[in-house]
Symmetry: C2
């Protein structure tokens, strides 16, 4: 295997990008010039976002594989586009590389990128590859398109609150990594939900194409409560959620049970589930459920939007109400 | 002054972005949601690129100011858009922050971003701010638009080769930083050309709006010869340039003279000038010169494209020819 040094900057870029095989049918110019060039589609909106992953802050090389890391780096960015009801179209990948990162590692990382690009028909349109002796980082900029966009602002009192999929799997998976906790297959599922999350691009597409009046949407990266606070603040409303409606995977429920782990904190505050959290007026609920059932997508109503107080309240199983605190976000500073 | 830790991630983002004052008149949604949202302009092409700067590789905090760093980080990205004949429209900024970077530093960095955003009417549309304990990095993703794009491919034998501005200033400036070399005002000019380059957005706009048949274009980031090789390889042609036509600033010429520095290597291989290098058929030369003169933009014909050999040749002052070697790029690995 050749070494990165021998390839040089241009050789490395050529080597890595030669393995990519999804190419947008309408791209005017892909990798290899100063910029990538695309036509704009009249009537569409452009949706853009960026996300960085830093070694030992967002991932550990000892607990993930380069393929999973590549998939996750793209998936979390695609999730931001999905959160707006958009379709991701292209990504720009920046790699900051210490010398210890090998060419073999990068090949596997790109194989992960390639899988997600193929799965979601996203083109890796360019990037930058730089030396970064002291830390390994990945930055993804993503560009998508949308006919209509769903923002955090717009939730109205009386709207119902929905989440796709199940909650807490990712944070429980993170707890399990490297620990000797009973579980077998369940552990594998949960850890995988953390290391290799699925961006809800398909689900966002269903919502965008539906005639449903989605009043607000976000992806759950900081945890259900935190992200619901984002919606409440932007929409100037409050919310009430119900303990017994928070969707759990069987794997999550079994693992919490077997190991005496309290599920509620994980369901409420566990981050990185990358499920969609959205609101719509009550009269749309039936149609939503029907459409998601047809598409075999799991969706749960977890609560409703309230005018006051401008807080997120939790109704516990015994009927008592609790005001949930807002965190400052994932404060890694 | 408050500390970054006290602000938290969301507080920090709000604090920093509150100082920005350029906002695109057509933006649908700026900073503050999962993505920024823009309308697409029918008939235009989208031009995208990304660039990372890593401390001690691309900049040193001991030799630049935070304001200049902010300006340069954006300028080098805007230069990529200019290199395609595009107009930069919006940027996404990722900051990887070690604890030692203070809020005051970030305020000044953002003041530099803000200056460039205002000068070039570019919106800082979003980004990501992450903890990066071991290294400070900045990643800029830039999105521009273009009616027609100028790529590296398309130079034809007989085309004339032009550069905007002057060559070698930035690399001479880099040499001068921290050294006790005679110069005064000249040193300041040259160092400034390195620390605070001007992206040739205005010049690219003139070329794009002109009816000139620009056959290829690139910005000079790796040095004249290296970037000319990029054009030659992409266009499958060779090139001949002339020693006595390479444009020097008076400051460059005087500083080289006074300090017995050989100017030629810097003119040929000095990187980071961020001038435009482009080709066009000979019959367009007069019109080009007239248009640039009118706009008070300095442009010089430095050579011409040749069919063979597929090399960059230099005609020295004494008439002898020399084949210039191609480097592997700025090999920082």
């Amino acid at each position: 295997m050749r070494k990165i040094k021998e390839l040089g900057e241009f050789g490395l870029i050529q080597h890595l990008t030669s393995s990519l095989n999804f190419r947008a049918s309408d791209s005017i110019l892909g990798i290899g010039d100063d910029c990538a060039v695309y036509p704009v589609k009249s009537g569409m909106k452009e949706v853009i976002s960026t996300d960085a992953l830093v070694e030992d802050i967002h991932f550990k090389l000892s607990t993930t594989t380069p393929e999973a890391l590549g998939r996750k780096a793209l998936s979390v960015s695609l999730s931001d586009i999905a959160a707006m009801g958009g379709t991701p179209k292209r990504v720009l990948v920046t790699l900051g590389l210490p010398e210890r990162v090998s060419l073999l590692f990068l090949d596997k990382l790109y194989s992960g990128f390639n899988e997600i690009c193929n799965q979601f028909e996203v083109e890796l349109a360019g990037g930058d590859t730089v030396s970064s002796p002291k830390c390994f980082f990945i930055n993804i900029a993503v560009i998508g398109e949308a006919k209509r966009v769903f923002t955090r602002k717009g939730a109205k009192p009386g709207d119902l609150i929905f989440v796709t999929g199940t909650l807490g799997d990712s944070s429980l998976g993170l707890k399990l990594i490297g620990k000797k906790i009973k579980g077998g297959k369940d552990n594998k599922f949960l850890i995988n939900r953390h290391l290799d999350p699925t961006p809800r691009v398909k689900e966002a597409g269903i919502l965008a194409r539906s005639k449903l009046d989605i009043t607000s949407m976000i992806d759950i990266s900081d945890g259900l409560v935190q992200d619901l606070y984002h919606i409440c603040k932007a929409s100037n409303v409050g919310a009430r959620i119900y303990q017994d409606r928070l969707p759990q995977s069987p794997e999550f429920a079994r693992t919490c049970g077997k190991n005496s782990i309290s599920p509620l904190p994980l369901l409420l505050n566990g981050g990185e589930d990358y499920e969609l959290l959205f609101t719509l007026p009550a009269d749309g609920a039936k149609k939503l459920t029907r459409q998601f059932l047809k598409a075999k997508v799991f969706v749960t109503q977890v609560g409703e939007i309230a005018l006051k107080p401008r807080k997120v309240l939790l109704e516990l199983r015994d009927g008592t109400m609790k005001t949930l605190p807002e965190s400052e976000g994932f404060n890694h500073f």
